[in-house]
């Protein structure tokens, strides 16, 4: 009878919340307080200024994810929770990387990598390139592996943000 499914999956949750002080803290402390981990998080206002969208990524077995979703829905300020993993969705993340680029060879190779992956070179110094890439998690990972061969000096990234391919928060937009 125990709820012990062992398979662990990554889930991308879209959480629509009241745009009020303290709401993000409610969401994150609920998840961490129950011993679950947040792997990625991003927050922004929606078209309706009274509503914010939190995109968060967490991992767990199906019963754990079900608990997280239900616990989130129980929060008084949470309007809606959608598990994007169950649907078709697009996701994106932005990463900034400072790569060692000293010799001519490396520099031209980096420029062509940048072109292939539709990145941008934001800044150039005598020893480094600072580059920007966007993409889904896998693409970003692939790029970083390639860049690592040149030597990554610094790297920062945003959380993933995501959207279902069909409209998911119809009602909420209308009532705005």
């Amino acid at each position: 009878m125990e709820n012990g499914a062992k398979v662990i999956f990554r889930h991308t949750l879209s959480v629509l919340v009241d745009n009020e002080p303290g709401v993000l803290a409610r969401v994150t402390s609920l998840i961490s307080g129950r011993g679950f981990n947040i792997e990625s998080l991003s927050v922004a206002e929606t078209m309706d200024a009274k509503v914010s969208l939190i995109t968060l990524i967490t991992s767990g077995s199906p019963p754990i994810i079900e608990q997280i979703i239900k616990q989130l829905r129980k929060l008084i300020n949470v309007i809606k929770v959608v598990d994007l993993t169950e649907d078709d969705y697009v996701e994106k993340q932005l990463v900034l990387v400072k790569v060692r680029a000293a010799g001519q060879g490396d520099r031209s190779e980096l420029r062509s990598l940048c072109e292939i992956f539709k990145g941008k070179i934001l800044d150039v110094s005598s020893k480094t390139y600072t580059m920007e890439f966007t993409g889904n998690e896998k693409k970003i990972r692939d790029i970083l592996i390639l860049l690592d061969e040149f030597g990554i000096e610094e790297q920062v990234s945003t959380g993933l943000t995501a959207m279902a391919r069909t409209r998911m928060f119809k009602k909420e937009r209308k009532s705005a």
């Binding site: 009878m1 125990e2 012990g4 919340v17 002080p21 409610r26 239900k70 129980k74 008084i76 309007i79």
Partner: protein, 556 residues
């Protein structure tokens, strides 16, 4: 507007304006002697009346003292609203005198909380606080009131009805699920109703009784559910779980259908989870969707108010449902056999007094008086749950989920404020009673005739019990010194005190104490070695119980 008549609390600098107005208001203010007690008292009040309990405290230490009470009420789904003072808005974040981030501190232990940012939103937030605390699965709510918001002025507009976009509790059962539940109930040969505090919260006792009687289904209660089903009813199995009665645990382990009503499969109930009700299909009625599939997988979840859900099931089943009566007779006979097998025996005239005997005698002496019994936490709590039969809901008040020592006395105080005519009795241990003993002052000053029974076993019995059974009788920090003279202590507070030392004195002391006017403390010097049986050891399945063993007293 919300029907509040009483506020429990304690004043301070940030709430001084409110007290200034309370003086001229028809609201009764009961000043406890510790803020923790004010929250427990509000909870006691709420449990007895079914209406929200309200407390008012000051900022800083006043606010932090409410943490235990807020967590306790929330875990037991009791509507309690705490208003606390806060430093003025311009001071927030400056580490001002008596400033704490109480909204941050209480976020995970309340159903919801608010910091009121301007006087204009005060009325709306108060309305919301009551709405959130009392609807869906009830709980505790804290409202943090900066001093300048309190003293500010705004036009008073109290919303009549509110609807929160993000909070709409689901109360009506889904007809398809009701039909599935009814089908399982009709098909079951060995069903058990497992009823928790949700039955009491939603006022579902009547349909629960009807369902049990119409189909001859035996009923077990959780600690929180006691009184939700008549304790003297032949279909009643007693409490289940770690210290449940033998027949209750066996019935759950052997049943083919478990109907959970407003109960959440707490670990103290289920024991070893993968063995719990292992042969049963499970129907779970709960107003809180997070309770479903949390600890066990349910065959038919019914997210709804327990009263509405049971009523719908009953309606579908009809007046004379067609179920397997022969199978049911066999099932009830098996249960009677377990009842006989598990009968707990202890020796009435053993010296010193056996604590169970005090509770049994208390039950005999108060039968039919519809007493409200509160408990502290420990062995005495379990003995009260086992040996006192509750026939009505809202008559047994005990801290279930959080298990707070120090709950019983203030809860009794709140219960007596709610129902001044009732016989209100707090059953306490010698350890727990000292956790909020200062409330004897409030009880005496407010002229509340609360009767307190102390089972003095000279130890923190429940912890000592574990040490005796599982820690090689090494009684680390559980044996209490001589402690205070409780009779004199009662008298010092202005209450009456009585003491029984021998078994022969138990009856007479109870009679005299219960008959005396005003607040009374009755102390019973009981056997230190007495243990709560039956018992399921940690990690065992609940059918595997240590049976009652008579301990020889006075030999540690």
């Amino acid at each position: 507007m919300e029907g509040v008549e009483v506020v429990f609390g304690y004043p301070g600098a940030t709430t001084i304006d409110i007290h200034h107005y309370l003086l001229d208001s028809p609201l009764r203010f009961v000043m406890t002697r510790h803020e923790q007690a004010a929250i427990h008292a509000a909870e006691g009040y709420a449990r007895v009346t079914g209406r929200p309990g309200v407390a008012l405290v000051t900022s800083g230490p006043g606010a932090t003292n409410t943490v235990t009470g807020l967590a306790a009420a929330n875990m037991d789904s009791i509507p309690v609203i705490v208003f606390c003072g806060q430093v003025s808005r311009m001071m927030i974040g400056n580490d001002a005198f008596q400033e704490v981030d109480i909204v941050g501190i209480t976020r995970p232990i309340t159903k919801h909380n608010y910091l009121v940012r301007d006087t204009e939103s005060l009325a709306r937030i108060v309305k919301e606080a009551f709405y959130v605390a009392t609807t869906g699965r009830p709980g505790s709510v804290l409202v943090d009131l900066p001093k300048d918001v309190i003293s500010g002025q705004a036009e008073f507009k109290y919303p009549g009805k509110i609807k929160l976009r993000a909070y709409q509790p689901h109360l009506e059962p889904h007809p398809k699920q009701v039909a599935k539940a009814a089908e399982l109930i009709l098909a079951a040969k060995k069903p058990v109703l497992y009823a928790g505090g949700g039955v009491i919260m939603s006022g579902a006792s009547e349909p629960l009784l009807a369902l049990a009687e119409r189909l001859n289904i035996p009923v077990t209660n959780t600690l929180m559910g006691l009184g939700g089903f008549p304790g003297t009813h032949p279909l009643f199995l007693g409490m289940l779980g770690m210290h449940g009665l033998y027949q209750a645990n066996r019935a759950v382990q052997e049943c083919d259908l478990l109907i959970a009503v407003g109960a959440r499969f707490d670990d103290r109930v289920t024991g070893r989870l993968d063995q719990f009700a292992r042969q049963a299909k499970i129907i779970q009625i709960d107003v809180d969707p997070t309770s479903i599939h949390k600890r066990v997988t349910t065959d038919v979840p019914l997210v709804a108010d327990a009263r509405l859900a049971l009523a719908s099931v009953l309606e579908l089943l009809g007046e004379a449902p067609d179920y397997d009566q022969a199978a049911r007779r066999e099932w009830l006979a098996a249960i009677e056999a377990w009842r006989a097998e598990g009968r707990i025996d202890y020796h009435h005239l053993f010296e010193p007094i056996q604590p169970q005997m005090v509770i049994e005698t208390l039950y005999q002496k108060t039968r039919g008086r519809d007493a409200v019994i509160t408990t502290e936490v420990g062995q005495h709590q379990m003995w009260t749950a086992q040996y006192y039969s509750f026939d009505r809901p809202r008559r047994f008040l005990s801290s279930g989920g959080l298990g707070v020592m120090g709950f019983g006395l203030p809860a009794a105080m709140g219960a007596q404020v709610a129902d001044p005519e009732a016989l209100v009795i707090c059953v306490a241990g010698d350890g727990s009673i000292l956790m909020n003993i200062q409330e004897m002052v409030t009880i005496v000053e407010e002229k509340l005739p609360v009767k307190t029974i102390i089972l003095n076993n000279g130890c923190l019995g429940m912890v000592r019990q574990w040490q005796q059974l599982f820690y090689h009788q090494r009684y680390a920090n559980t044996i209490l010194g001589p402690g205070p003279d409780f009779v004199k202590l009662a008298e010092a507070f202005g209450a009456k005190g009585f003491r029984a030392v021998t078994p022969e004195e138990v009856g007479p002391v109870l009679e005299r104490g219960l008959a005396a006017d005003g607040p009374v403390v009755m102390e019973f010097i009981v056997c230190q070695q007495a243990l709560v049986y039956p018992m399921v050891a940690a990690g065992r399945e609940i059918g595997d119980m240590l049976p009652y063993v008579a301990e020889i007293c006075g030999q540690d």
